[in-house]
Symmetry: C2
Subunit: 302 residues, 2 copies
Amino acid sequence: MVDSPDNAVCAGFDAWAKGLLGRCEGLLDAWVPADAPAGLGAAMRYAVLDGGKRLRPMLVWAACEAVQGQQAAADRAAVAVELIHAYSLVHDDLPCMDNDVLRRGKPTVHVAFGEAQAMLAGDAMQALAFEVLTPDAGIEPALQAQLCRLLARASGHAGMAGGQAIDLAAVGQPLDEQALKNMHRRKTGLLLQGSVLMGAACGHPTPQETQALSTYGDALGLAFQVVDDILDVTQDSATLGKTAGKDQEANKPTYVSVLGLGPSRRYAARLRDEALAALDGAPALKSQRLRDLAFKVVSRDN
Amino acid sequence: MVDSPDNAVCAGFDAWAKGLLGRCEGLLDAWVPADAPAGLGAAMRYAVLDGGKRLRPMLVWAACEAVQGQQAAADRAAVAVELIHAYSLVHDDLPCMDNDVLRRGKPTVHVAFGEAQAMLAGDAMQALAFEVLTPDAGIEPALQAQLCRLLARASGHAGMAGGQAIDLAAVGQPLDEQALKNMHRRKTGLLLQGSVLMGAACGHPTPQETQALSTYGDALGLAFQVVDDILDVTQDSATLGKTAGKDQEANKPTYVSVLGLGPSRRYAARLRDEALAALDGAPALKSQRLRDLAFKVVSRDN
């Protein structure tokens, strides 16, 4: 899609990714309770099981692998970020927000379960993310606290929720590139970067390595959003699994509307290269999967 | 209101409570960010500042006092539980839920800021609760993790959010006393009990003391809801600061509708006595303020 030859992705990536897709599904199946009362569990599971690219969990696992961290902690971090991401989609799709009816190729949660249940399911998924991060045993308490800290900051008022508030206020407003970048860094970027940092927290990176991973996550997060904006105008709803063209229709500023399509593609490729360059600066990291993910994020078609 | 003479409350309680009301307001003012983007901070502050009985923070502080725990940790726990409580009210008031326009004597958040901003403010308040519990320094990480664990469990699918799902499904349904108790234990009780347990976690209670505080919190939480149901039919909106009579109007089952008014009053008094008896079993606790709060919860008129 953007300039990014498939042979740049390392052999073995597809098998690695496929394995983690299955791992993610299995963990979510085990930890998102079917028996939550009065249909709440069914709505939560509908919202998060069986779908999604699982990019955030993969970033957690790839970063954990890079620092040779604890798998058990990374599993919980991976599920927690995916729960936060999925809850944000459920709330974002509600009639009072984007009023969307299609997500991951299925009717959105409020279409299937009603608005009130969708709101509660989102609320409960946010709480579950923090519950998953704080088991009675198996992960040292200091790491539990660190993972909660990273997730809360990435998803709250200064991060994802704040970015959504800017997005809400930006409809029909002219935003310059700087304002657009600020919105997307918060709305999407900080949780993607947070996924990398949570994975890294499962091991013992040096401060320089943490900084390299942070820079990687920042560039990758922005690249992801630039590509999202490109796909919104170049792909159809069936390929995306969600309603295509909706930013344009809602008169929302996007990278494509601000920079144009060609420059947006070049910008995405440049951000990918920035992410890769950051990893070059920390050669002791086992960063092959993070590199692969940087290529995949920019070359994806949905 | 219920049989509970005012002289049962210890001298000094009112000054203690007044001091903590001010403390709560000051901490919320400091920690709920005015500068969150695009009006989000204003909506969050509107939702949580300047109002409310602050019962949950008082339970945190009283339980911390009972175990002579760390004040700095109790301050964060108090603010976190109040943020969770306040977010739940914001979401509960939305048109897709209770569709209420009056709360704490003011227009509800969605009336003042719009539905989308109200939903985002609630989401951001939940994240902020966990952010407040996980500062970079000042509270040992193991305690941070424990506070996050208690809060997530009390507010999520098995607690508050689950109770709200039952509540949603119960409109117009006949519930027996056991089903009503299950709903209220989750919807309100577990967060009140959680407040007590979070306060207790700030010190080093014995297992027997933790059990006594847990039993106290459980009985108090249920008493609170029984009294809420009584007030809904006996008080007017001006006294309550929220719309009176709405359970009846919405055809929701309540203790008054299931047990009757007189038996509900006697039940509330019995639950208060159970809460007090639990404290009697742990005489080393400095439990005077918890005792006072048990009387206050049952004798309140709003």
